[in-house]
Symmetry: C2
Subunit: 205 residues, 2 copies
């Protein structure tokens, strides 16, 4: 952080200011969507200059990625991530996202940007995120197989990619047609392939 | 078409020119991606001025939508759309798309744009497309239920949304990690829920 290097407390203040900007950006994205929240409106709302904002986030891509990362950090649950099985995990995550349509939009924007050459930072974030979530869900599938709930001949990696894809795609369809699509009901069809533990509501391992 | 109104053959010539622009745009998107193909490069490649291009496509959104519509028209199969069952339909479509990653990218861009207020034309196209494809697949599921292949207690609309979501989401994951995701294998897991007709390869109804 260049701002105030050497002054006592300046580093901590920089961290706090960065966090204020992120909090405000998330609020703006949630309320007005990604297109409706310019870098300038994020700066204005936190009382920093546009130049100061660029000090904390060197590009719009970086702000979008860090805002989504912060959103996920806030909502990561301390409970056993495998609680309830792989489908229940994605259903909980989809439920959380649908409370704030602007953040489903942010996620869809990050994903589309990641496919374009001009957004290397976004691409790296989205690739790493998919890899991590696929690995976590594949572990949950493998656990279900060891416990005899899930067919042993089903490939955990294939199933993990399928569940994530279904959750992502259903949220997009729902945003475009809230009356025509029921994310949770469609996702629950996957429970027939990948049954959860009985204690799905309990959250215990 | 304003160009040459009143001149004989001008209308037909206008239609041909529009088609040339679309063909070239699809080639550019397929080769360089959506970000890599500016309106200017589309104009340059077809030997029309930027102003003339705007005569045929009043906005970048309109060009993207019409290019994708044309891509789908080219690849719509004359066979019975329900051939092979709902999952097989989406798997064929995903196979076609993966030959041209630029067009998967175009589709992802259209979908992300559709979620933003600033792209009303794209939104209308994507909403209508999802509605139509969901209705077609729901019909295929209902047919499978009448034929006794698919469980009768499964809601056709929920299943249709699920299959489309899975196909869309898997294509995105595959573009970002071609070695880590196998679209067809993951989609085929859905065959366990929604079995195809035996004559899956034959294409007949």
């Amino acid at each position: 952080m260049a701002e105030g290097t050497g002054r006592p407390g300046a580093y901590r203040k920089g961290i706090e200011r960065r966090q204020q900007i992120l909090d405000h950006a998330i609020d703006l994205f949630a309320e007005h969507g990604v297109d409706g929240a310019s870098l300038r409106s994020v700066a204005d709302g936190t009382g920093v200059s546009h130049a100061a904002l660029r000090h904390y986030f060197s590009s719009r891509d970086e702000l979008l990625v860090e805002a989504y990362r912060e959103h996920e950090r806030r909502h990561s649950s301390p409970e056993d991530p495998a609680a309830g099985g792989p489908v229940a995990q994605m259903a909980r995550s989809a439920d959380r996202n649908r409370v704030v349509p602007g953040l489903v939009q942010l996620y869809a924007t990050l994903t589309a940007d990641a496919l374009q050459e001009r957004h290397p930072l976004t691409r790296e974030f989205v690739q790493a995120r998919f890899s991590r979530v696929r690995a976590e869900l594949a572990d949950a599938v493998a656990l279900g197989q060891r416990e005899g709930r899930i067919d042993a001949d089903l490939d955990p990696a294939d199933a993990a990619a399928l569940v994530i894809a279904a959750s992502d795609g259903l949220q997009v369809q729902w945003l475009l047609d809230p009356d025509g699509v029921d994310v949770r009901r469609s996702l629950e069809l996957l429970e027939r392939l990948l049954p959860s533990r009985r204690d799905i509501g309990g959250g215990g391992a």
